[in-house]
Point group: C2
Chain length 217, copies 2
């Protein structure tokens, strides 16, 4: 084991001095996190290898020592972003006996998250579009939507179960409905920043979902 960190001092950001020695695994880790920061802050088009290396405080050579290509590091970062977003959504689940209250609370929590971190929403859409135009990234977009649809379906099922009701329409379709409405609503809000109207839409969505249940049996 010769690849280990010889110092506990943090990385220098400027990259002006000599770098701390670090295992390739840790380096990759740092670079992926740097990529995520650049993606969220500046977008996919500006997440160049140079920008990523600078953000991580390493030189271009180091990046290419740890990753074979820009595509590889972008893909890693995209998957991690998706998983993190899906996990955050699961955290936001609220359930209880009152179906309307748990749906309303979950949607509010989701919406607070979007408003707090618009860049993360944005980069999600950018990555989807990027994946649709670059065949080698196709799985990235599919990974996104598989997970998002799963999360919404779990959310609906958990809410219904806690409230002792069941949906009268197919839950996978309803999950796609919810995912679509929230996706589109976020995009629209990113453009016109009309938070009041957006919350009205969330209320309408809540009403609709509540109308789709019947007592379990």
């Amino acid at each position: 084991m010769t690849n280990f960190s010889v110092s506990s001092e943090p990385e220098r950001e400027g990259g002006c001095g000599r770098m701390v020695r670090m295992s390739s695994k840790d380096r990759r880790e740092e670079l992926i996190e740097a990529t995520i920061r650049v993606l969220v802050r500046d977008g996919v088009a500006r997440a160049t290898t140079r920008a990523i290396a600078a953000e991580a405080g390493v030189t271009l050579g180091v990046l290419h020592y740890c990753f074979t290509s820009r595509a590889e590091i972008l893909e890693e970062a995209a998957k991690r972003l998706t998983d993190r977003k899906a996990a955050a959504a699961r955290e936001a689940f609220a359930s209880g006996a009152d179906l309307r209250a748990s749906i309303a609370r979950s949607l509010r929590t989701f919406w607070t998250g979007v408003q707090a971190a618009p860049g993360e929403e944005q980069v999600g859409y950018e990555l989807t579009q990027y994946a649709l135009r670059n065949e080698e990234f196709e799985q990235v977009a599919q990974h996104q939507y598989e997970h998002y649809l799963d999360v919404h379906q779990e959310f609906l099922e958990a809410a219904a179960r806690s409230a002792g009701v069941e949906f009268t329409v197919p839950v996978p379709a309803l999950a796609r409905f919810v995912n679509s409405t929230l996706d589109g609503l976020s995009m629209c809000w990113l453009v016109d920043r009309d938070g009041k109207r957006a919350e009205e839409v969330l209320d309408l969505l809540t009403d609709y979902l509540v109308s789709c249940v019947a007592p379990a049996g």
Copy 2:
């Protein structure tokens, strides 16, 4: 008036011969249409000045003679795409005494359009994202959503009027709801191409909209 077309023969695509003389206005026109074709086919990132010039069958110099920058030509093309899409959506309006039937038919027509021209949907989202990352394009995204929201509001109002009913919820919010759901649904379909599930969502949306009305009075 020395700027006029001296020949009726069509442009050569290869750009290998001498170009037909054409007024600057007609040239701009041709170049904007070429830009739209490249945008739809290859996406925003690949709509370079070279790709556009090649598509129009002119040299780079000609493009820069007609437009000061790539930004200018992209902006023109984006606005035209948006207006065209909004106009197409208005064409799809169906109204009649049966509210459910007219909503269902309008949504089907919309959906047929998405499936027939996925590239146009895609470039719409790309342009939104591009605009959100480039301040000088901010108005492009705002132009898009203003128009789309208007179209959906007009659609809802026309459908309700023809059926002799009125909505029990604020129509601007409902328009945003419909726009969001359709936007998100299209994106999701672009990724997983699950047309069956998508149509189920359209049916759910139809149900919901029908449930939002009461007899006019």
